[in-house]
Amino acid sequence: MSERVPGTGARRRRPRGFARRMAARDLRAGGRRLGLFVASVSVGVAAMVSIGAVRAGVQASLDDQGRLLLGADLELESRFAFAPEVSSMLDSVARSGADVARVTTLPTMVSTAAGETEGRSALLSLGAVDPAFPFYGAVETEPVGAWSTLADPGGVLADAAALVRLAVAIGDTVSVGDARLVVRGRVDRIPGDPGIRSAVNPRIYMSRADLAATGLVREGSLVTYRAYVRAASPRDVGRLLRTHRELLGGSAVTWDTARERERQLTIAFDALGRFLAIVGLGALLLGGVGVASAMHVYIGRRRGSAAVLRCLGASGWSLVRIYALQALVLALAGAVPGAAMGVALQAAIPALLDDVLPLDLAFTFDAVPVAVGIGAGVWTAMVFAVRAILPIRHVPALGAVREAAIGEAEGGARSASRRIPEGIALVAIAATVVGLCVWQAGDPAFGSGLAAGAGVTLGLLGLVASALIRVTRGAPPRRSPFPVRQGVANLFRPRNQTRAAVVALGFGVFVIGTISAVESNVRQRLSLGALGIAANMAVFDVQPDETRRVLALLDEAGRPALDVIPIIPGRLAAIQGREVRELLAENARPRFGRRSAVAGDSSPGDASARDPAGPSTPRSWALRREYRNSVRDTLVGGERVVEGAWWDEGRRPSGASGEKRSVRVSLETEVARALRVGPGDTITWDFQGELVDSEVASVRAVDWARLEPNFVAVFEPGGLDGVPRTDLVLAEIPEPDARARFQDAVATGIPGALVIDLTAIQETIGTILDRASIATRFMGSFTLVAGLLILAATVVASRGVRMRENAVLRALGASSGTLRSILVTEFAALGSLAGLTGVSLAAVAGWALSRWVFEMPYRVPLGALAMLWAAAVVLTVALGALGSRAVVRSSALGAIRAAETTG
């Protein structure tokens, strides 16, 4: 670097390393006091690195264990027994060297065999398997190797949840349909199967050879047939699908590949990772606020020294360099340990998500998230710090001889032209916040919205804090006790950083409060009571002639049925006169310009990306699926008509044909869209062989998140009389014992009926929410910790001033009790301001998120927010008291001396 010598025009060297040397010296003396601010950077970086490392770990695990997700390379699935053509195709695949295994699953009531324990029964998912499955990964069982015993008929394996529900142990006998089978072992883990699924849907496994003996597979049973293929190479999977896709499509067979499963899981975890990263981002931003606040205080104290340096010949920008270098060192000192902390915490997050992950998360060290975390932490800290440092360049040399000159120069530096660098620094801060949000959100629009939200929140926090401070200032009446007046007055001590403390702590409270507000509303919404659903027991698949017996059993239990809902299973036969088979064949044909190796479309969720159908052709998944329909005369809660009219408003369809009946039907929006139909269109249904013509009368939006039963297709009353149907009986049995007795009575007395205890589902939903909430709060707590650290740092920063004040008060005769009361008042007021600001904004943010993101009604969780507020006050007072112990304890003279050395 060189610069011009005044009056000569010659260039000469700038003193080498001066800024570096001065920075080191200054930091050595004053850096320790910034430790707590530095820790706020550590917390932010730890949050970022931990979630980054987990994301990298999930990706690494997916790469390693992708094939374990399916246990095979290819899965074929059908709700009907595989057609002979499909079976022979599978045989030829097996002959060509690939491995093929079949698995048949169905829900069924399983009970302990007569004479065993107390005769319990439970609804389980039965899997009849070829023991060769899975081809990849090992099934973990107790005893070890028990999976291979499925090769021999006569036994079952069950997962832990199934064993608990049936209250049986290994060696006991259970009844599955007509078969009595011995429990040979417990299944602990199946590759690709998240543990939590077992809690929702407990499983029991048997040999496929025993399936016929159970007598469970009959007309109307909800059986799913699957075949698993292990190909010699991944290419073979693509080739096989390309060759047979027409056959599979025409035979109502859907398929999934290990690669596709991996891709979908990657997308899902990416979304989860991004969400957690966004929550963690709050901590990093607060780290930036912390550093800015630290540098503001630090620079404030160094203005005298800066004036002397100016007197001795240092330029304004060399002062900026001196402090920027110090900020850099502090940022690194915060970021590096923060990254180490993040790597250590990486081990904690998988433990929180263990049950909901379908794969084993190994602890891996990946340098990329560590480097990225450190880089982001240092950059964020620096842009915030530089903004606080820049004004030091205006400190005049005259300040060394006349202190007032410093204030005058700062006043003069307010002119716009002299503040261009400050403007640039502000733009850099804004760009950094937007950049970080967009980067973590992975979507420019959402990220920008997030950044705007964070900016507005921080700005509002600042404004609300200012307003509250103003109000508080005039709050204590003149006659209130001295400690109260003094404590409140202390909030307005010059350079007290009250606003920074309120913003930092308030932002932490805001993040946690928003999570709480949304979570409590989600829980509220998913609770049976909130939905107005009294029922907690549902009996499915009750044949009409058995319904009376179920009702009688309920009467015996003293709990009459709440509702009996007919369920009519059926498939589509034709749409607008065109046969489903014809439409499916059309969809299966490769189209010009599209990928020819398009996979099947097994679910509505992924169909959009893969369905080859044009915009006017009904989608295959919707054409193939089996529909469980109902008949109803009124709309229920959680649904509304969006097109057409409900029965009472509409007209009867005209032109009913002589042989076939034509009835009105109301379809759910997503299915109506997938079938490309709307009001006035016709659909022919196949109800177990009986064809029924229908006209779409209306399209309903249905809130499926509600637990009350609803149906894709609802027919008008009387429209499906005589068509084969089953009944769903709803009842409310509050006592757990009575529920178990009723369940057993139905299982033994009415074979084929499935009893679901909705309370158990509710509990499982609660468990999943608990996990999600722990993970979210875990990330959110980083922000709160960062906020508390900044608060603690501001307490420490003001200790010198506090000591001087207390020395004077002590000299005037104040007791320790009085000093303590002043302290408690000051910090209680600070915590109250910050907490109130945080929870108020959280209540608003919760409402905004509920309304626009979760689209659900909102109720301010007053209790939770009040507790959070109280916690903020208690924590603030505790931190304040902890940081000011020496201030209260010291003698007047000691305090004056200490203040002189620390001030």
Partner: protein, 227 residues
């Protein structure tokens, strides 16, 4: 040729709704190796005049030349470089940098001097020599807070002479010291001045110190008064 020339120098400050004139059209010249004392009652504008002559502040009227450079024609950073090269300071409140040890404080002007003043070892050796010269070699690694007022002012003197300034400005150098300590500092200042033949401009209330000067400039209410 005079080293410092002030021509019609005035300085006003904003005060409440109006302006307060602290200096009224001062004319003076300081020759090389002069020892000039500025005296006068409190509030007469002594420190303001010192600040203007040293280029710490700009006059609101008139002009100041320093070693041939008109100070109002160069910006603040250029004036800073000028000070780093040619000016030393001693303050009433010592103004040692609290975060630096005694020897590090002395090093600062040497490190700031344009082009540097030798290697790190040379700077260290010179700083130590100056510290010895003011009798504080054994306190080299002490921080200002660990030194007494007199010791701090002696370190401040060593720092002021460290880079061989053409002019040393001193603002009430004994103002914060007791009589005895003040006398020691004055003795040291005089000795160093004689050794280095530095031009010395100092503001003082101390008649003993003013008595050592070649020339005494008296200010009253911002105007020159007969000495």
């Amino acid at each position: 040729m005079a080293l410092i020339v002030a021509e019609g120098v005035s300085r006003t400050y904003p005060s409440g709704s109006g302006e307060l004139t602290v200096l009224h059209e001062i004319d003076l010249a300081v020759e090389p190796q002069d020892f000039v004392a500025i005296v006068g009652p409190s509030g007469s504008g002594k420190t303001t005049l010192l600040g203007l002559l040293a280029g710490l502040d700009s006059p609101t009227g008139g002009r100041v030349w320093f070693d041939g450079t008109r100070l109002d024609t160069i910006d603040e950073d250029a004036r800073a470089r000028l000070r780093a090269e040619k000016v030393g300071f001693v303050f009433q409140t010592f103004q040692l940098l609290p975060t630096l040890t005694a020897i590090e404080n002395i090093r600062v002007p040497l490190e700031l001097a344009p082009g540097g003043r030798g290697s790190d070892e040379e700077i260290e050796a010179r700083s130590l020599r100056l510290l010895e010269r003011v009798g504080l070699a054994d306190r080299a690694d002490h921080y200002p807070v660990q030194l007494s007022g007199g010791e701090q002012q002696r370190v401040s003197l060593a720092r002021a002479f460290a880079h061989d300034p053409m002019v040393l400005f001193a603002d009430e150098p004994t103002g914060n010291l007791d009589r005895e300590t003040g006398a020691r500092v004055i003795g040291l200042l005089r000795d160093l001045n004689e050794e280095t033949r530095t031009t010395l401009v100092l503001v003082t209330h101390d008649p003993e110190l003013a008595g050592l000067a070649d020339r005494v400039i008296r200010l009253e209410a911002g105007r020159l008064a007969p000495a």
